[in-house]
């Protein structure tokens, strides 16, 4: 951060533009990154951050505009060329092969001789130096998400990069691990590495970064010093207006709707996480959040709860006072269970099918099927009502699901599930990849739903979202579920510790479920 103004910036982007078939993702953006600085690229989902970074990293080619490296014009045709310049990137979705070990993964990305033993030594050196402890001989599928990120970072560091791009690195980390990561990044910057830090988390950026470039809708909005700019101002720059707030509502807690007792399930697939003795109780009117870093058993828990993967012991899951462990997803849906999965395209919706058909997908019990034939009129009316009530921006009921933006498709899916008047609603990652306005709308709907006497279960990686939306919170780590806390009785620090798996064993209560006990929650 010393001689930055005398020499040209390490990387300069000038009026870079990239469009895709349906949108202009990056629209004439300038960016300067200097040696030794941590430069934030701030923007909400869909602002164009990732597209911009992929262009720097050579994974995408700009339609127009130009780039300079160390003052000399440059065109980066592939990730290989980017790496040759000294640009390294840690992706949000890791570029690791699960079936092989750490050192093999690294060997693939590095030029030179294929000498795994020598490489393993170097890995140990680098990882110790930057406080990123790693065992080079472990298979990647055995590693936690946080450890995988370390593998990614160390792999970048082995190439002594001059510019390191970090794409939303903290979404997979506990608050404590975030502090650790920041120490590593500060050390790197002090040694002269330029770091581009992509995020939408304002507090992190204010803590870590020296400068911030704000993007909105693919355009450059401002370049500011985040250390002095108030958080509220940054938020306004990012979303273009006041930050929407959700309104909490007093809810009346009612009957027990969903109960899980000592649920144990083997991991899904060779690299899955086994569930170990999960207990939880969910009453109508409650919003229970399950926090945790993904890959800790969320997928298995969801599959077991929804019936996509029925479990062996019928009595380990109770819905409305009935043991449903062995029931199919269809039977549980018929009993008033609704579910919004985290993958919208391909699971929550069939990408090439119309919104009308995608309504039929789960809402067919709403009088849309007669004598085995589809009542197109009823299905169309249902889809149209979802679109209208939930303000879904789309090309009408015959628009294919894949043509909608992430936020609008999520609104449609949430709407479709809500309109079926569920008694228990399970939502996974409700606002992943959704813009701020739609996120606020969806969260508010979940709160309102509970107020109308529905039992709501939210599984999310976003701790902020859970603290904002839920009345109760538990953490899943390593296939185990923590004790349940009232949101007002806990804080981010405690939850963060729990996310690392450090929680007291949940006191398993083996009561027989009784739908009529309207007891208030602990």
């Amino acid at each position: 951060m010393s001689d930055q103004h005398s020499s040209p910036p390490l990387l300069r982007l000038y009026k870079v533009r990239k469009s895709f078939p349906s949108i202009v993702a990056v629209d004439g953006v300038d960016l300067d990154v200097r040696t030794g600085e941590i430069h934030a690229v701030l923007g909400e989902n869909g602002a164009g951050k990732s597209t911009l970074m992929k262009m720097i990293y050579g994974a995408l080619r700009p339609d127009s505009g130009s780039m300079a490296w160390n003052g000399a014009p440059v065109s980066i045709g592939s990730p290989g060329e980017a790496r040759a310049l000294g640009i390294a990137m840690v992706f949000q979705h890791f570029s690791l092969f699960e079936s092989i070990n750490v050192v093999e993964n690294m060997a693939l990305a590095l030029p030179g001789r294929f000498d795994l033993k020598a490489l393993a030594l170097r890995i140990s050196e680098v990882s110790e130096r930057y406080g990123l402890s790693l065992n080079p001989w472990r298979a990647v599928h055995e590693l936690s998400v946080g450890e995988r990120q370390r593998v990614e970072i160390v792999r970048c560091l082995l190439q002594s990069p001059r510019l390191l791009i970090m794409d939303e690195p903290t979404s997979v980390l506990t608050p404590q691990a975030v502090d650790q990561l920041f120490d590593t990044l500060r050390l790197l910057a002090a040694e002269g590495t330029a770091i581009v830090y992509i995020s939408h988390k304002l507090d992190e950026i204010r803590r870590l970064c020296h400068r911030a470039t704000v993007l909105r809708g693919g355009r450059l909005i401002a370049e500011v010093d985040p250390r002095v700019e108030p958080e509220r101002r940054l938020a306004e720059l990012m979303i273009g207006r006041d930050f929407p707030e959700t309104r909490r509502r007093e809810t009346e807690v009612g009957e027990l709707a969903l109960e899980v007792m000592s649920l144990s399930v083997p991991g899904d697939g060779p690299f899955g996480t086994a569930l170990k003795g999960i207990n939880l109780r969910l009453r109508t009117g409650e919003v229970l959040g399950i926090a945790g870093i993904s890959g800790n058993g969320q997928a298995e828990l969801l599959a077991a709860l929804t019936g996509e993967q029925p479990v062996e012991e019928a009595q380990s899951i109770w819905l409305n006072g009935l043991p449903v462990g062995q029931m199919s997803a269809a039977s549980r849906r018929a009993m008033g269970l609704a579910f919004v999965p985290e993958e919208r395209l391909g699971r929550g919706a069939v990408p090439p099918m119309s919104l009308m058909e995608n309504g039929l997908l789960t809402a067919h019990r709403q009088g849309m099927v007669r004598h085995g034939l589809v009542d197109t009129g009823a299905a169309s009316a249902f889809a149209a009502a979802c679109i209208k009530d939930f303000d879904v921006r789309c090309g009408g009921i015959s628009a294919p699901a894949q043509s909608l933006s992430g936020g609008n498709l999520q609104k449609y899916i949430v709407g479709r599930e809500l309109r079926q008047s569920p008694r228990v609603m399970i939502v996974a990652q409700p606002t992943w990849g959704v813009d701020v306005a739609a996120s606020a709308l969806i969260r508010q709907q979940l709160i309102d739903l509970a107020a109308h006497g529905v039992a709501v279960l939210v599984i999310s990686e976003d701790l902020g979202e859970i603290l904002e939306t839920c009345n109760q919170v538990a953490v899943i780590a390593g296939g185990k579920l923590s004790p349940v806390r009232d949101v007002s009785d806990t804080n981010a620090q405690e939850i963060g510790t729990w996310m690392a798996g450090l929680f007291p064993d949940a006191t398993a209560t083996g009561h027989a479920p009784d739908a009529s006990t309207g007891a208030s929650p602990a």
Partner: protein, 388 residues
């Protein structure tokens, strides 16, 4: 690394016009290559074209033969399409067709009378039902293994086709061999009450004079009924919808709670029954017996018919007619030009391969690749915006 000057750009949504145009393009390309092959073999391409595609259907007898071949192809392809929509690859329709033929033949032989004076009105309907059951039962083996033991249905259904072939051979060389056949591998010729009546004997509508001497029989009615039923099932029924979801997004089908096992059973039983039905119409139709020369490989060709017809009931009708024409053309070219019969198979393979290739246009646009960045547009000086 060398880069091609063209590149594929994904479309925002599948192109509806290309869905229709791609098969036509594939047919055109196949014809073009076919003409080149004819020329390379020393035949006048235009003459060969006429012999292959025009002559076979230039009279009423030709058209009757065309329909006679298109009918079972269409029937089998309709069944297969239902499975293919769900990504259930039954490629053993050939074997299921054999089993349909065997079941129907069993009844025909059981009630066979040397004097051909049976007059059993129910025999033919019973054979039709038996044929469908036979095909469905054979496909049921695949369905059971796939649905409950997760065994690959492609390999199982195909292996069962080889077994079915052996079963036919065993029967016609063994227990079902016509005693008066001098050890040739065929059964007795069926009695009249075990055969579909040919349309030529129908006196209404002037069919008797129009169709005189042709072999087209009443079984075509089964196909004519099956087409709209298949359309209704695929496009309007909830089960058809579930199958389509399972094919396009299996995770969505699990999410919605559609039973995978049930869908596997439905798809395979329907396609097996359709193939078995086709088998019954063959033995009780143009063959008039069961023999080991069940040549044309309808069960495999129907895979192409289903793909070319876009897994759509009406598309399949057109594709079946085209494929039947290829068969007839092959026969006609064999006689007139001494071209080997395998020519038809070459055409079929090319057609499917071209179709699969052309299908890229449904989901992608072909675009000229932009030249790599010119060297002289420094970010440090005034930039020149590069237009695409």
């Amino acid at each position: 690394m060398m880069r091609s000057p063209l590149r594929l750009v994904p479309r925002a949504a599948p192109s509806q016009s290309m869905l229709v145009l791609a098969p036509l393009l594939a047919v055109a390309l196949t014809l073009l290559v076919g003409l080149i092959i004819f020329a390379a073999l020393g035949h006048n391409p235009l003459v060969a074209f006429r012999v292959f595609f025009i002559d076979p259907v230039s009279d009423i007898n030709g058209i009757s033969e065309l329909l006679l071949k298109a009918s079972p192809l269409c029937l089998i392809a309709l069944g297969l399409a239902i499975g293919f929509r769900a990504n259930i690859w039954n490629i053993g329709a050939e074997g299921q067709m054999y089993l349909g033929g065997i079941f129907a033949t069993g009844l025909a032989i059981w009630f066979h009378r040397e004097d051909n004076a049976g007059g059993l009105w129910w025999l033919l309907p019973a054979m039709i039902v038996a044929g469908a059951l036979g095909g469905a039962a054979w496909a049921g083996i695949t369905a059971f293994l796939r649905a409950h033991l997760r065994t690959n249905e492609i390999l199982v259904s195909l292996m069962l086709t080889y077994v079915a072939d052996m079963l036919v051979k065993y029967l016609v060389y063994g227990p079902w061999q016509d005693p008066q056949s001098n050890n040739f591998p065929f059964t007795v010729s069926f009695n009249d009450d075990a055969l579909f009546p040919v349309l030529a004997i129908w006196e209404g509508l002037g069919l008797d004079s129009l169709m005189e001497g042709t072999r087209l029989n009443l079984s075509i009615l089964l196909t004519i009924i099956a087409v709209p039923l298949a359309w209704l099932f695929m496009n309007r029924s909830f089960l058809g919808f579930q199958l389509a979801v399972a094919g396009q997004a299996p995770a969505a089908a699990r999410y919605a709670g559609f039973s995978e096992k049930k869908l596997v059973w439905v798809a395979l039983l329907i396609s097996g029954a359709a193939a078995g039905l086709a088998g019954a119409t063959e033995v009780a139709g143009p063959m008039g017996q069961l023999n080991d020369r069940w040549t044309p490989g309808y069960g495999f060709t129907a895979i192409i018919v289903a793909s070319l017809g876009r897994l759509h009931a009406f598309g399949i009708v057109l594709a079946a007619l085209l494929m039947a024409l290829l068969y007839l053309g092959g026969e006609s070219a064999q006689i007139a030009l001494q071209l080997p019969k395998a020519m038809s198979l070459v055409f079929q393979g090319m057609l499917l391969m071209f179709l699969l290739g052309c299908d890229v246009l449904v989901n992608y646009r072909v675009e000229r690749r932009r030249p790599l960045h010119a060297a002289a547009d420094p970010a440090t000086t005034a930039p020149t915006a590069e237009a695409a």
